[in-house]
């Protein structure tokens, strides 16, 4: 054990680092320390049974609205201002508080239930008493416990990996629950561990772990483990198993818990839903302020009026209290009136808005059009309170990759050794695929290929956005009982058709017979051949792809022990071939290569036959896959020429090959030599089909997978991966282990990744690097070696650059592949630095980066690849619609300018007759000048500033599109120039920012949002879009191929760009108009009702009397008329969905301007209340009418007016509307009737006994109600009728509405229902069509 003296006391330690030892440590101080750490029990619920009431009340009292209510209620207890009985005055606050409390309680109960079920999950924890793993519940797991997990189990807490059943000490986890990334991540056992087996005595584990305190950084973990011997081993993220991830591909793992429960990284990342304030709500606040002002004026009027009235009265008999001076009485009345007229402040509006938004979210969430069948994912609404902002978007900022495009990378073409291989077949294949997709989309019925029962991993498990919240975790658990397979394996990506020319060259290399004979007809030099082989080797190994086999998904294909030939032999051959890329050697001497290359070719040939003969049944076996496939080769190769040979081999069945057998093959091959040429292509095909079924590649980025598949198409197949080596099939050689020395993973700063391997054939240390052209081209070595080599290398670079440019113009994503051969000493030196960097705890990242940069210099450019990233379906249509809707679409991408422009063309953001303004410059001054110049150009172009893109698209020069690159953007975003930049961009119909960094993206969004004060929306799919998504008013994440960061930070998450169309044009429009109308209606309702009370003040000496029973007064807004606005806020369809989709112009055309409509509404409410009050007044003037009798027809007609007003204003009335309206009326009349029947002494002084019953038995009541209602509604009715007749957009709408009749709709529904059973089959569209 350690010397305890040197350890700081436990409290101090808590402050800095966390110390973890085994939970059964004998050291008491340490075990006490362990107890201070959080247990694994999680509690995300806020309340307990006891604490609910005080805690919830306390929280609710933080709301201003509730404080207002309580203030009113309290005010009512002051005797001099008392307006109602105290018990009536507390009704509103109690009602509001209890509604909210019930909602909170319900939510909290769900949290509690899910916590409970998670806490009770079982796991195996080592018990020192029983010396065995016993089953425990998650909640009982403590820091320092050893936990054993099996494959597919979920990790209960953050633990350090101590043992894995995998011999290499590797364990794979799937972090889908955490970040949505479904690829496997490799975790490594802490190095130098004494722990030998799963059952090894854990008591002997006395190491101490020091690590950082719990934090929420998922990608960082630092610490060290100190063994009893005093040896310190660095710990990093690679050793940590995170809670709620799933163990995959590993039979058993054991770990020690370091963070538990709420301190786990998963829980600390659980931030819950987002709250944003919508613009409408901000408008609402001004409206509410106006209401406050109105209330103030009314109360002041009453106060002054009351004072004057009292002053003028001389000793009346009805005076109650003569001592109070008129001024003081007026002051009291002011407060009384505030209570009486309290409903004028639409406080309940806030609660109503929340409810309405929930309803709107419900409908958005349930929209079939926003459902993606392939991913089985709906839209996710993460922000609950900005639905209406969707209807006001003016600027849309979109990422390109993965947002407009599918981010399903498909290898399209490549250039090696400065030679371009256009891969035309491949292009054609992609077109065919495209067509099929279109067809499928049109038919809407997706049929399943019967041959393929296994849905190929396209069931991308769309993890719900709340993956990190406990509520969802429960669901996830059930999901994980099934092994899920992975994305990036679409057929279109896998089946790369090789370029015939390249195949010929490869074959040529493999068949030296030809080389010997020819040397003419474009035969490649051996240097080129080495480039080609190196190129494909690099494609195959320079990645972090995890290989698994089909039958056992995610099971690592084990290393092959026995290569086709003895390694020594192959090495020898290759050395004779002298595969040194840096020396342009003359053609190899024929005798030396005579034997082996022929055998290579033959082997390929034979393997081709394997596919044809279909003998690879054992190839699905997990562990010895390569071996068995090798067996297959051997079998078949022998089968064809010699039956007896095959049987002999079958008997042998050892997989061991000796040289003589190969020799046999060679002889056979010779005999078939003539046929070979003709079969070249089929060979390649077959070579692929041989392996196709068995291998699945799981890559962190889709580019990688595409490249690996491309390499596979050329028989350079990645077969397996372990920590130390990679297993690669090389053309003609077969499986070879490539010793893997280092991986320098991809990094967005370096923009490249590298692997350091020992070349399997030459034994040299080789660095293969792959990365963005900008990053690689500058690093390729310029002058070294012979004159000729220099010349060649320069030539290659020039050519490749040309090709890169043309790829970019085509819209392809480009990558450069380079290599570097390291001298042994050179490598050792670098290795030392690298190891130092790896083991350092402090600024590890920087050191690693430095080390990588040291290595990645003087590279030899091998070639480049062009990867196609196809547009998502319906992107052009969507962008067109959005532009028609008056939304300006900007593309912010990190891609090259050419690529970006190309994509912009493809998605119709750019029309052929648009004028491109390209902005790119090197300095600030140049930038300023350029901006001005471009501005002038725009003015000359005669396109009006901020012109409507919808209109201008019909003109000659349709519009200007600004293309600006990252460097220029940097200048343009500076304070001095941003005005110019904005001015310029305003006059352009679209802006494309290329080569922009995530920071720039967010700066651009912020600039536009703040300076133009417009509504912005940002949509993106990757981590680089997160900042932009967060800055924008509405952030939309596309749940795609790049994990969940974008989704996690978004307000809405969709799975396809095309969903934006309906989301904005229909739902946004609806939500906005609904909410705006609801708010206006709500205010109208309140003003109308409150004014009735105010007019009455003119006839009661402004004394605060009311002509209504206090109960009716309070409940009128809270109960009788509260539901109709909610219904109208949730259900109204101001325009039919299909109309909105077809006429995007309506998006901006039919906006409800809340502030201006507010005054119209208030005026209308004033008018209506005047009618509603004064018609009964004149009808009753001078008669013997009692107070409540007077109020009765006023209230009744007020209710009728309010409800009928809604009927007029509501564009659609469904049975739900009708029901709610009728129920509202019934509830009012029912209440007042019952009240007047049974309320004998209640509600003083306004006791309603007998009033309503008497009133409703008299015709006068109905006569008054009828004339009042009609008179009050006439102006609104007239306005609506005239508006609908004359207003063009309304005319347009109604014309559209007429076209769609109900019959049509019925038919559609029927068709849909018929097609539904078909759709029930599990379908992966990517699997369609290309099946042989």
């Amino acid at each position: 054990m350690y010397s305890l003296e040197c350890l700081p006391s436990s409290k101090e330690r808590l402050g800095k680092n966390r110390t973890v030892v085994t939970s059964f440590t004998v050291d008491e101080e340490l075990s006490l320390l362990l107890k201070t750490y959080n247990g694994n029990k999680i509690r995300t619920s806020k309340y307990s049974l006891l604490s609910f009431l005080p805690k919830n009340l306390f929280e609710q009292l933080h709301r201003v609205a509730n404080v207002y209510f309580i203030f009113l209620a309290a005010l009512n207890f002051v005797p001099v201002v008392e307006a109602f009985q105290p018990e009536i005055a507390v009704v509103p606050i109690i009602l509001v508080l209890s509604v909210t409390a019930v909602k909170d309680m319900w939510e909290d109960y769900h949290r509690y239930k899910s916590d409970h079920s998670i806490n009770r999950l079982p796991c195996h924890v080592y018990s020192s008493k029983q010396k065995a793993y016993i089953e425990q519940r998650w909640q009982d797991v403590r820091v320092g416990d050893f936990v054993r997990l099996s494959c597919n189990e979920i990790i209960p807490a953050d633990m350090l990996l101590l043992y894995s059943s995998d011999q290499r000490g590797v364990c794979y986890i799937e972090t889908a629950n955490l970040d949505g990334e479904t690829n496997l991540k490799q975790r490594q056992v802490v190095s130098d561990l004494p722990l030998q087996g799963v059952d090894s005595p854990l008591e002997s584990f006395h190491s101490r772990i020091e690590c950082e305190n719990p934090n929420n950084d998922l990608s960082r973990f630092r610490g060290y483990m100190e063994h009893p011997s005093g040896l310190r081993v660095g710990l990093h993220n690679n050793n940590l198993l995170l809670r709620s991830c799933t163990v995959r591909n590993t039979e058993t793992v054991v770990g020690i818990v370091v963070y538990a429960g709420l301190e786990t990284k998963a829980m600390m990342n659980n931030s819950g839903p987002r709250y944003k304030r919508s613009q409408l709500e901000r408008h609402l606040n001004t409206v509410v302020l106006w209401c406050v002002l109105l209330l103030f004026i009314m109360c002041l009027t009453a106060a002054i009026g009351h004072g004057l009235w009292l002053n003028n009265l001389k000793d009346p008999v009805f005076m109650v209290d003569t001592e109070t001076s008129p001024a003081l009485a007026g002051f009291y009345v002011f407060w009384t009136m505030i209570i009486v007229l309290q409903v004028l402040i639409p406080i309940s509006l806030y609660v109503s808005i929340e409810v309405v938004k929930l309803g709107q979210i419900y409908f958005i969430h349930n929209d079939l059009a926003l459902y993606n069948q392939q991913l089985d994912s709906r839209i996710q609404c993460r922000a609950l309170n900005i639905t209406e902002d969707l209807g006001q978007i003016q600027y849309l900022f979109s990422d390109k990759t993965g947002t407009l495009t599918e981010n399903k990378m498909v290898f399209r073409r490549c250039s090696i050794f400065g030679v371009e291989y256009p891969h035309e077949e491949n292009a054609r294949r992609l077109e065919v695929y495209e067509a099929e997709r279109a067809e499928e989309a049109a038919g809407r019925s997706v049929t399943l290929q019967s041959g393929r029962s296994r849905s190929l991993s396209c069931r991308h498990s769309f993890v719900s956005l709340h993956t990190l919240t406990a509520a969802e975790e429960e669901e996830e658990l059930t999901n994980h009982s099934q092994p899920s397979t992975r994305a990036f394996c679409s057929r279109v990506a896998k089946e790369v058709l090789p370029d015939p020319e390249l195949v010929r060259k490869l074959n040529w290399f493999l068949s030296p017979a030809l080389a010997l004979s020819g040397g003419s007809s474009g035969s490649p030099s051996s240097l080129e051949l080495t480039y080609i082989t190196d190129f494909f080797l690099a494609l195959a190994i320079c990645n972090s792809v995890v290989v698994s086999s089909a039958s056992q998904p995610r099971h690592v294909v084990r290393e092959e022990q026995t290569p086709l030939k003895s390694l020594e032999e192959i090495k020898m051959i290759f050395q004779r071939l002298s595969f040194s890329p840096f020396l342009a050697l003359p053609i190899l001497s024929p005798p030396k290569i005579k034997v082996s290359p022929l055998s290579f070719t033959h082997r390929m040939f034979a393997r081709g036959k394997t596919g044809l003969l279909n003998i690879s049944p054992s190839s699905n076996s997990t562990t010895d896959e390569s071996e068995s496939s090798l067996e297959g080769h051997l079998e078949t190769s022998s089968l064809r020429p010699k039956e007896d040979l095959s049987s002999r081999l079958m008997e042998g069945n050892s997989g061991q090959t000796d040289f003589r057998e190969v020799k046999d093959d060679f002889i056979d091959a010779k005999m078939d030599g003539a046929r070979q040429d003709a079969e070249d292509l089929t060979i390649e095909e077959d070579c692929k089909s041989d392996t196709e079924e068995e291998l699945l590649y799981e890559a962190e980025s889709p580019d990688e997978a595409a490249l690996v598949h491309a390499a596979k198409a050329y028989c350079c197949t990645l077969r397996g991966r372990s920590a130390e080596s990679l297993l690669v099939d090389l053309p003609g050689i077969g499986s070879l282990p490539v010793p893997l020395l280092h991986i320098l993973p991809f990094d967005s700063n370096r923009k490249k990744m590298s692997v350091v391997v020992r070349h399997p054939l030459t034994g040299q240390v080789v660095v293969y690097t792959k990365g963005a052209d900008s990053a690689i081209m500058d690093l390729t070595e310029s002058s070294k070696g012979a004159e000729e080599a220099q010349e060649t290398s320069r030539h290659i670079r020039e050519q490749t650059q040309n090709h890169l440019d043309s790829y970019a113009r085509e819209g392809l994503r480009t990558l450069c592949i380079a290599k570097k051969v390291l001298e042994e000493e050179e490598y050792q030196v670098w290795r030392k630095g690298q190891l130092l960097a790896e083991n350092s705890i402090e600024n590890r990242e920087e050191m690693l980066m430095e080390s990588a940069l040291r290595l990645e210099t003087d590279l030899t450019l091998l070639g480049s690849t062009g990867i196609v990233d196809r547009l998502q379906e319906e992107v052009p249509e969507t962008i067109e619609a959005l532009q028609k809707a008056g939304i300006k679409v900007w593309i912010l991408t990190g891609d090259k300018k050419e690529t970006a422009i190309n994509i912009a063309y493809a998605c119709k953001l750019l029309c052929p007759n648009d004028q491109l303004l390209t902005a790119s410059c090197g300095s600030k001054d140049a930038c300023a000048a350029l901006l001005l110049e471009l501005q002038l150009e725009v003015q000359r172009g005669g396109v009006p500033a901020a012109g409507n893109p919808g209109k201008s698209s019909s003109g000659g020069v349709a519009g200007f599109v600004l293309v600006i690159d990252g460097r220029m953007l940097d200048w343009a975003l500076q304070d001095e120039l941003k005005e110019d930049f904005l001015l310029l961009s305003c006059s352009c119909k679209a802006v494309i920012c290329c080569r922009s960094t995530p920071l720039q993206k967010s700066q651009v969004v912020r600039l536009v949002r703040d300076h133009l004060s417009v509504m912005t929306l940002a949509v993106g799919d990757g981590a680089n879009d997160v900042s932009m998504i967060q800055v924008a008013d509405v952030g939309i994440g596309i749940s795609g191929q790049e994990g969940m960061q974008a989704v996690m930070s978004s307000d809405f998450a969709i799975s396809r760009f095309k969903h934006l169309r309906k989301l904005l044009l229909v739902h946004g429009h609806w939500c906005y108009t609904r909410l705006a109308n609801m708010i206006l209606y709500f205010i109208y309702k309140n003003v109308m009702f409150v004014n009735l009370l105010f007019w009455y003040q003119c006839f009661c000496g402004f004394s605060g009397s009311v002509m209504t029973s206090a109960w009716v007064l309070i409940l009128f807004n809270l109960l009788f008329t509260s539901v109709p606005p909610l219904i109208c806020g949730v259900l109204d369809r101001h325009t039919a969905a299909h109309t909105l989709m077809e006429l995007p112009q309506l998006y901006s055309a039919s906006k409800v301007s809340v502030p201006s409509m507010f005054w119209i509404t208030v005026l209308d409410a004033f008018y209506q209340s005047l009618v509603c009050f004064f018609v009964p007044y004149f009808a009753f003037a001078g008669s013997n009418v009692g107070v409540l009798t007077f109020g009765s027809p006023i209230n009744a007609s007020c209710l009728l007016i309010i409800l009928l007003h809604q009927v007029i204003e509501s564009p659609t009335l469904t049975w739900i509307h009708a029901l709610v309206l009728v129920l509202s009326a019934v509830s009012y009349f029912g209440f007042v009737l019952l009240f007047s029947l049974f309320c004998v002494t209640c509600s003083p002084p306004t006791n309603p006994l007998g009033v309503e019953t008497l009133q409703m038995s008299e015709p006068l009541f109905y006569i008054i109600c009828a004339v009042t209602t009609v008179t009050a509604l006439i102006p609104r009715l007239l306005f609506r009728a005239l508006f609908n007749t004359c207003h063009p957009s309304a005319v347009l709408k109604s014309a559209q509405t007429d076209r769609m009749d109900s019959e049509n709709y019925g038919k559609k529904m029927q068709r849909w229902n018929l097609s539904r059973p078909k759709n029930r089959l599990p379908v992966c569209a990517d699997n369609l069509g290309l099946e042989p």
Partner: protein
């Protein structure tokens, strides 16, 4: 197939409700609906308006102010506050038969029975016969809950205290002889007030219930002696008291005093001279109030009210007018498009 179910587990339900396709009636208020609608409403309103107007015209009303502000007024002498138990006679004549049943009201103006503090100044428990509330009236009655000696006032409160106490006797003058016109004081209050809301304590005799209490300050007699002629019409169920306690909504109001339904006056008040003997007690001049007596007959729509009939006629005509305007607008905007 379990897997297949799983595949679409997230698919939203395709119902008309969730997909927001509920069949809806769209009240697109186009001219096509509005014009006939307006015409119909207009015609109906004009019809009702005519009926109301005619009915209202047939109602006779006789109002006589007797405040006595004017020196020529017979009650001028009583308008002086210092004169106690003043009686004045109001002479009037009818040219023709005043058709019955005739309702006899007293009216007050500038009198705010709806003043908030006044309105609250009562104790419903006490008025419903609760003896506990007799001994300790509700605070709401303050300052009319206890007298100077801290004795509870029953009935308490400002409303009861300010009860109208002028009395009227109507004579028909036939050949110089005053002939008493019988006034019916029954059934002038609401049925619910008389039978449900206001209850005397179940103590007999009623007087005992009021032991230990005092009468309201302004009252000449305690509550159990309000009607000496009819013992059943005393206490809280005294009809005049009930009428007074039902507060008027507006400051100018009238309250039913008696009905003239009996004997030879069943058909109404015949033409001729009448004399109204008024016991002038109630002070209104201090606050510029007026007092009046009103004779009126009623119809199915209540008392005389020309306003409603005119309102109906105006609104009805407006509707018709607007439908014509709409027609013009409609013709201007719609028909060219259809061609």
């Amino acid at each position: 197939m379990v897997k297949a179910e799983k595949e679409i587990a997230n698919r939203p339900d395709n119902t008309a409700f969730t997909q927001q396709r509920l069949p809806a009636w769209q009240p697109m208020l186009s001219a096509g609906i509005v014009i006939p609608g307006f015409v119909l409403i207009g015609l109906a309103f004009i019809g009702i308006g005519v009926a109301l107007f005619v009915t209202s015209r047939s109602i006779e009303v006789l109002e006589i102010d007797y405040t006595g502000e004017d020196k020529n007024s017979p009650c001028f002498k009583c308008s002086d506050q210092d004169v106690k138990n003043c009686v004045c006679n109001l002479e009037f004549s009818l040219d023709s038969l005043f058709e019955g049943p005739v309702f006899f009201y007293y009216g007050l103006s500038n009198y705010f029975q709806n003043y908030r503090k006044y309105a609250a100044s009562r104790d419903d428990d006490q008025l419903s016969g609760d003896l506990d509330a007799f001994t300790s009236p509700s605070d709401s009655c303050s300052p009319f809950d206890l007298n100077g000696n801290d004795k509870p006032i029953v009935p308490c409160g400002a409303i009861a205290n300010s009860m109208f106490n002028d009395t009227f006797v109507l004579y028909r003058v036939v050949n110089g002889v005053k002939k008493l016109v019988p006034l019916d004081g029954k059934g002038i209050a609401w049925w619910t007030d008389y039978n449900v809301k206001y209850r005397n304590p179940t103590v007999t005799p009623l007087k005992n219930a009021f032991n230990g209490t005092v009468k309201p300050i302004s009252w000449p007699k305690p509550a159990y002696q309000l009607d000496t002629s009819d013992p059943a019409n005393n206490g809280f169920i005294n009809q005049d008291f009930l009428v007074w306690m039902r507060r008027a909504a507006l400051p100018d109001f009238r309250k039913l005093y008696r009905r003239i339904t009996e004997g030879e006056y069943e058909k109404g008040l015949p033409a001729g001279n009448y004399s109204l003997k008024i016991a002038y007690n109630y002070p209104v001049l201090s606050f510029h109030g007026t007092k009046k007596v009103v004779f009126s007959n009623v119809s199915w729509m209540g008392g005389k009210n020309e306003f409603l009939g005119i309102a109906y006629l105006v609104v009805g005509s407006l509707c018709v007018l607007m439908s014509i305007v709409m027609l013009i607008v409609y013709a201007k905007f719609k028909f060219p498009e259809d061609d």
